[in-house]
């Protein structure tokens, strides 16, 4: 379950990165559709946080440590919303670039999360 969500968040995050990176390349700020995309990725990351915590309460333990796992889950959940708020303040191509960077970071976090959980 958690592995499927990790994969889903990773893939959608990369798609978001390409999409917003393309907007930055074309000198465009983030638009409504981008924010819907960010919302989708954020909801998936939140679901991952919930599922991760539920699995911990069931007694399952990540290979590399619980504290590290929770820290990464929280970071992953906050990543895209944080970038989204910054792009609201920056209505230029650089706002799009910020979201793209945030999405890449989220994808990297997913690789690490997979590793920490026991891949």
């Amino acid at each position: 379950m958690i592995d499927a969500l990790t994969l889903a968040v990773g893939v959608t995050a990369l798609a978001l990165a390409v999409w917003c990176g393309h907007a930055a390349y074309r000198d465009q700020p983030t638009k409504d559709w981008h924010f819907i995309g960010m919302a989708v990725v954020s909801v998936l990351a939140l679901a991952q946080l919930v599922v991760g915590v539920v699995q911990l309460t069931r007694g399952e333990r990540p290979v590399k440590g619980t504290a590290l796992f929770v820290a990464y889950l929280l970071g992953a959940a906050a990543c895209v919303p944080g970038a989204g708020f910054m792009s609201l303040a920056e209505r230029t191509r650089w706002g799009s670039a910020t979201v793209a960077a945030g999405a890449v970071i989220l994808a990297v976090l997913q690789v690490r999360l997979y590793d920490i959980w026991g891949g």
Binding site: G82, W94, A97, A101, I105, V108
Partner: protein
């Protein structure tokens, strides 16, 4: 003399390309800080030097983030000094970890020139210095 106070977002340093830098520095502040806090809290004895260096990195990142947001000539100078310090830190710690791996049973943020962080720790200060030298200071109002 201090620069006239500028509210966040009005300073030229944290706008445009600067916004991307604020975001990346913010992320690295959180990453380095949480890393060192978790490691110090759980097993400080394992690699004290590595964990302290991560904490130092976190402080440097936090200060640069703050300076970029604050804006103005004073902040620009302070950030430039810190970026130089950061680059020096990455290069020193990177070389040190390669030359004497025995001193580092566990990795720091700056180990092997930041390889665990996609080399962003090396790229970031260089990019920031270029931006800090170019950013319009007149935009501080």
């Amino acid at each position: 003399m201090t620069e006239p106070a500028t509210t966040a977002g009005e300073g030229g340093l944290g706008k445009g390309p600067g916004r991307l830098l604020v975001w990346l520095y913010g992320v690295f502040t959180v990453a380095a800080a949480s890393r060192s806090i978790v490691q110090m809290a759980l097993h400080f004895g394992d690699a004290p030097l590595a964990y302290v260096l991560s904490a130092v990195a976190a402080v440097v990142y936090a200060f640069i983030t703050y300076s970029l947001v604050r804006g103005g000539e004073g902040a620009r100078r302070a950030a430039l000094v810190c970026c130089a310090l950061e680059l020096l830190g990455v290069l020193t710690v990177g070389t040190w970890t390669l030359a004497d791996p025995g001193a580092f049973p566990d990795a720091t943020v700056w180990s092997d020139y930041g390889v665990g962080y996609l080399f962003i720790p090396v790229i970031l200060p260089v990019t920031a210095v270029v931006w800090l030298r170019r950013a319009p200071v007149s935009a501080s109002r």
